[in-house]
Structure formats: structure tokens, C-alpha cells
Symmetry: C2
Subunit: 291 residues, 2 copies
């Protein structure tokens, strides 16, 4: 497995692969890899089959964090991540630095030379994570556009744990005609139902117990959902009460929506998507599912 | 020479070329081709040499016109354009329709399915054409990003007649890491100095005479410019008076700036860039040069 640290090297490796007729699959990550990422890498391997190449990018993108978020303390363990990539079957790991990805931020005294171009999605980003984290998706779409142009993938794998993110990326690919097929992989969960997340390591033992309430709330919603519509506001209120009965929890949002347009629905029925964000202690967790 | 009318066909042709190791050069145009475009096509041919492929795209992009602009009457003559491309040495002409480039605008009843992703440059677009035409550059960067993803060029040629546009595209390529080398080709002029533009055909005989004032103003500025700084505001005023002494002319802007950062300068000296936009009758013309 190759370890690539510069944009130039990655781009010319990818161009070489392309010129040899090889397919490329990209798994963009922020590191702190877990079984969810392993499943993405395996999906990527399947998509390009034996002859193709799978690249895992590991980059904690500052542009998608707000100043009050956990950029500095976001977990980083490159050696462990590299082992996981190798075992999962990746052909290359791409680990650029901030000064390569946003080189003009530091070097230049002239603010007009700074990074100034963004990929921006203006519809699907206006709810949920886009409200809670106003600059988040601009950072996500921009870094993913950059990675697509650097790694030149035919396929790119995104986990449905970040459901809205996957929908936004798919929309960007559709609208800007990126020659990339998006693979959306299912959420991987612990045995007790907690969705895997690099941020789960922030949880204390007590909080880890409370964190189960996200998946439990989804299960509760599933039980109540049928073909007949159920008023979304009522169900929200019920789930909020259920969740906040657990110690140290605070609901950020619970939304019911159309999984393609992310358009909120007033009546919840079979096929409606639920997504929720809950603070457990200081840690913000998200989860979602189709009802 | 191939004539390609669909995105799918263009993208798979380009991928095929790439997989055969061929270089690709793109000349994005809105048609109504003239000697300026021919010079761009020839630059593109040189960049990919004998074995590579040159694609001319012809597409009048509605996204870069404001409602009050000349989208409907913009000159279109595909047969003539095709002849010009063939003679200049293009390998393919790509002529998508609006319903292929923005398919979700018309078809769907759901506004949330509409095109919603844009490439946006936020610094270099804040002056000159970006002020006069507030939505223009968002349309330009978005369509160029789309064309880059469809035609997969190694090189793309832009004329310096649209100096700010070329600078904005170059910035987008830098920031989003498009694997494309931008070729900036010099302005082509009529014998009497008028910069070639598809919009020159709008000019009456009288207006055609007045239109010379743009290039004459630039020449005047050049004569006055030396290593010693000249106050920009004074020179602007002098050029404005000179221009508006011609019948049917109205200055939109005259700017002096750093050619890389497009940062306005207060003192004009050798190496400063001048750009100007002037209404001649109802036709808005632009021109620029390095002093």
C-alpha cells in the first residue's frame, strides 16, 4: 500500500492509473477509522474489482468545522489508520496537510491571494446539519470537489450515517457533472445499536449508555409508522421527551423528510426518512434511518 | 471532426481518450466564433500537439446572463461555427442544450430537485464585471466547472479579452485543484484596434466608430504611464472625459489594478493593468491591457 503525502504525487499517480485504463475508487475520511470506514473501503474495493485502485484520503478538513467545534481535539492516529486501510484492502492512503490543501492561507501577506473558491449546494443544505452548523456543508462540498480533482475517482464511497452529507454530495455530482459514481453505504452499528462514529470515543461510560437513546428513538418511530400518515410534530415531541428522559441528553433536531429532496413532511409514513442530532454531554451525535 | 450533442457521449469519449493516454484541450465558447476564438483553438492545438484532442464547446450559458441582458438575442450560427472549428483544427465540437446542462429546471414540478450546486469565487469577482453583472461570475465558474468535468481537459484556453474571467477561472483551478492547465491567450484586434467580440455585430456604423475609443483610451493611458506612479483617480477622470466625448458612449467603469490579485491601485505605473467597460449605444464593450 502506498502512502502519498502531496497533491502533485497523488494527482499524477491517479492520472497514470487512468491512462492505463484502471478504475479508481475514493473513500474520503477524516481518519480515526472504525468498522464503518472499513465497510466503505470494502464497498470501494468491490466497485473497482480486482484490477482497480482504492484510495483512502485522511484529512481533517478545517473548512468544515466552525470555530466552536472540535477541530483541535478531533481524534488522530495515523499509524492505526494506515494498518486499518491496509487490512481492508486499500491501494493507497492520501494524507495531505493543511498547508498543501489551503496553501495560500498562511504564506501570503496579501489576503487577496487566499483560497477563495468554493463548491456550494444551496437547497439540500438548508435544513438539519446545515442549520446547526451553518458553514459545515460549504466546507464539505469544497473539500470533496478538491479530492475528486486530485484523486480522479470513478467511484466514491460515503456512509449513510451522514445521510444529509451523502445526499448533498450526490447532488453536487449531479449538478457539476463530476464523472464519479457515488456509493452510499449503510450505517454500521455496535451490537447495542449505537451508530459507529469517530466521535463516540468522547463519551464517558455514563454518556455511552445515554447515547443508545438515538437508535432507540428511531426504533420507537419505526414501530409507530405505518402507511397511514402520523402527524410529524406529535411524533417529534414524543421522541424528544423519550430522548431527554435519558441523563445528559439534549435534542438538537429531530426531522422527518423525503430521502431524495430532504423536504420536510408533515405526515410521517412508511418510506419517510428520520434524522436526529442529540447532544450527549458535550458530544453531538447523529443518526438516521428510513421508516 | 466529431459533433457531440450529449453530456454522456462527450464524457465517455473524453474518458476513452484519457484511457488511451491522449491529452485533451478545451476551448469553452458561446459560439458566434471570430478570429479571437480561432486563435484560442490554435493555442489549444499547440498545447496537446499532434496526438492530442481539441474540443470546442459551444453553449450560450443562461446562468451567466442577468434577466436584463442579451441572452435571447445573443448571436447564434452553428453551421458557420462548425466550419470555423474544423478549419482551425478542432477534433470535436460539443453543443449541449439547456435541457441537458440544467435538466432539472424544467422537468420537475418539485423546486427542490432543481439545479442547486455552484462553483463560486469570492474575492476576484468582487470588482469590475462582478459589480456590473452581479450573478455573472457564479454562472461562469459553474459552467466551466461542469465543462471541465464533462470534457476532462488537460488544458483549457481562455482569451485575455475577458481578463477578469480568465483570472477567476485560474483561481478556481488553483483552489479546487482541477487537473487542468489554463492557457491565457492574447486579445485579437481589428486593424483599427477594436478588440474582437461576438457582441461587435450589434454596433451600427456610427457606433462602430465610437467603439474605437476603448482602445484609444488604453493607448492614452500607456503614453502617460511610466515607472513613476500617476494618481489613478486623475487618470480615470481624464480617460472618462476622453471616451464620453465620442457620440453615444457612456463609461461603466475604468479600473487600474494588480493583474494577479485584481486589487485596485491608487498609483498607476508600468505593469499596472487597465480594464474598462463602456456602453456604446446599447452595446456594452470591454477591453484591457497591461500598462
Amino acid at each position: 500500500m502506498k502512502h502519498i503525502e502531496t497533491i502533485r504525487e497523488m494527482q499524477s499517480l491517479a492520472l497514470g492509473w487512468k491512462r492505463s485504463g484502471l478504475s479508481i475508487a475514493l473513500v474520503p475520511t477524516m481518519g480515526a477509522l472504525h468498522a464503518g470506514h472499513v465497510s466503505l473501503i470494502k464497498c470501494a474495493c468491490q466497485s473497482v474489482q480486482l484490477s482497480g485502485k482504492v484510495v483512502v484520503s485522511i484529512y481533517v478538513n478545517p473548512l468544515q468545522f466552525s470555530p466552536n467545534e472540535d477541530l483541535a481535539k478531533y481524534p488522530r492516529d495515523l499509524q492505526k489508520d494506515m494498518r486499518i486501510c491496509q487490512e481492508a484492502g486499500a491501494d493507497a492512503v492520501f494524507t495531505p496537510t493543511d498547508s498543501l490543501m489551503y496553501p495560500f492561507e498562511e504564506k501570503s501577506g496579501d489576503p487577496r491571494l487566499k483560497h477563495s473558491t468554493y463548491a456550494v449546494e444551496e437547497t439540500l443544505t438548508q435544513s438539519m446539519e446545515g442549520v446547526a452548523r451553518p458553514t459545515h456543508f460549504k466546507g464539505v462540498t469544497t473539500i470533496v470537489a478538491k479530492l475528486f480533482n486530485i484523486v480522479l475517482p470513478d467511484y466514491a464511497a460515503f456512509g449513510n450515517k451522514d445521510f444529509q452529507q451523502a445526499a448533498v454530495i450526490q447532488r453536487m455530482v449531479r449538478d457539476l457533472n463530476f464523472p464519479v459514481q457515488i456509493i452510499r453505504a449503510p450505517i454500521i452499528r455496535e451490537d447495542d445499536g449505537l451508530a459507529l462514529s469517530s466521535r463516540n470515543i468522547y463519551l464517558s461510560t455514563e454518556e455511552r449508555k445515554s447515547a443508545l437513546c438515538l437508535n432507540q428513538a428511531i426504533k420507537k418511530a419505526k414501530e409507530k409508522t405505518s402507511k397511514d400518515g402520523l402527524p410529524a410534530e406529535e411524533l417529534k415531541l414524543e421522541l424528544k421527551t423519550f430522548i431527554e428522559n435519558n441523563p445528559n441528553t439534549k435534542v438538537d433536531y429531530i426531522e422527518f423528510f423525503n430521502p431524495e429532496t430532504l423536504s420536510p413532511v408533515s405526515l410521517v409514513s412508511t418510506g419517510t426518512q428520520i434524522a436526529l442530532a442529540v447532544f450527549v454531554g458535550k458530544t453531538r451525535l447523529i443518526d438516521n434511518d428510513t421508516l
